[in-house]
């Protein structure tokens, strides 16, 4: 037996599947300055991405649909809820100081630095849930989705998602926040359409990919809703650049969806409504997304 095994290895018959960068997104060149003069109307999603709006409701879970009812004007892109831009968001005491600098993981590079750029320009754009009215409400849980274009996982046995996030704002918490669902539907993040076991949302607080990260204090966190226990950052907005407003890297194992030829990754925001007067302080930012298959 030993001889047979040695022969197989030496002949190259046993080999690891190669790693492939299925997709990556750094939002560079998209959107505008989110606290510049004039109404913010420059948001632009990557090609083939889509977001739920008043004219395109998505299924969040079960029979529950998205409910951020913004009237879209101008270029047809949202100005609240999921959007893309650079610099900090306009509201006080929420949002990052600017985009993540390091970019997404590649096949040869694992990005480990979460440094944010102060202000920046369109080369530093990021995805953010802008939680000002109507994207939050002190009495109603708001829900909105932004999703990728169609992705093909049929050639892989394992799928890893990495991205960087920033969650600064006093209103995060109540087991709500940002989640990731992987489904075979372009308009549903529900478990009814999930691309693999556990990858669809089942309620405001459950379902979707398990997201792991190392918090800024060094502790390990595993959750299905970013911001579930409150803000993950104590600094952002117009603060000076410090470790406290560095972006945090999240990782999710999406291997349950491996083998599927048509999937969509949905970023869902479940917005806390739990009393108080500052529901607009829930700007959840995401940047530097990489999806690697093997």
């Amino acid at each position: 037996m030993l001889g047979l095994g040695s022969s197989l290895i030496s002949s190259g018959a046993v080999s690891e599947p190669s790693r492939v960068l299925i997709a990556s997104y750094d939002f560079s060149g998209l959107g505008g300055d989110m606290d510049a003069p004039g109404n913010y109307d420059d948001s632009e999603l990557p090609a083939n991405w889509a977001t739920s709006t008043n004219s395109t409701a998505f299924t969040m879970y079960g029979s529950t649909a998205t409910n951020v009812n913004e009237t879209i004007a101008g270029n047809g892109n949202p100005t609240k809820g999921w959007l893309v831009g650079f610099d900090t968001t306009a509201s006080t005491s929420t949002g990052p100081i600017g985009g993540h600098i390091g970019g997404p993981d590649t096949l040869s590079t694992v990005v480990t630095e979460g440094t944010a750029i102060d202000e920046g320009d369109a080369t530093n754009s990021y995805l953010v849930y802008e939680s000002s009215t109507p994207a939050s409400n002190a009495a109603i849980v708001r829900r909105q989705i932004v999703r990728t274009g169609e992705l093909d996982f049929s050639s892989y046995e394992s799928i890893e998602l990495t991205f960087w996030f920033h969650a600064y704002g006093a209103f995060f918490g109540n087991n709500l926040g940002g989640g990731v669902a992987v489904t075979t539907s372009a308009t549903s993040a529900s478990s009814a359409a999930q691309a693999g076991s556990g990858l669809g949302f089942t309620s405001d607080t459950a379902g979707g990919a398990t997201l792991g990260y190392t918090a800024l204090d060094g502790s390990s966190v595993s959750t299905v809703r970013l911001g579930h226990a409150g803000q993950t950052h104590a600094s952002g907005d117009a603060h000076t650049q410090t470790h406290a407003n560095d972006w945090i890297k999240a990782t999710a194992d999406l291997s349950a969806a491996a083998g599927q030829s048509s999937v969509y990754i949905h970023f869902g925001m479940f917005v806390n409504s739990g009393g108080g007067s500052v529901p607009f302080t829930q700007d959840l930012a995401i940047d530097s997304i990489a999806i690697i298959g093997q």
């Binding site: 004039g38 109404n39 100005t79 306009a90 509201s91 102060d118 000002s132 009215t133 117009a238 650049q241």
Partner: protein, 65 residues
């Protein structure tokens, strides 16, 4: 003397960044508008209107809090 990290030479003054009735803006300690950052379309009774932070405004236009 505080120095603006962006321009390193501007004059900094104490101010307040706020969500006003129409705009996000920086005002001086007497409420006079020093700089408008963006116009919003929030309802007149929205909770966000009136929210504010103490900040520094540099003569270069950069705000810090």
């Amino acid at each position: 003397m505080e120095t603006c990290i962006r321009c390193n030479e501007g004059t900094m003054q104490d101010a307040i960044y706020r969500c006003g009735s129409v705009n996000y803006e920086v005002v001086d300690l007497n409420g006079n508008v020093l700089k408008t950052f963006s116009t919003h379309n929030l309802p007149a009774d929205d909770d966000e209107i009136g929210s504010n932070n103490a900040c520094k405004l540099c003569s270069c236009g950069k705000r810090w809090s």
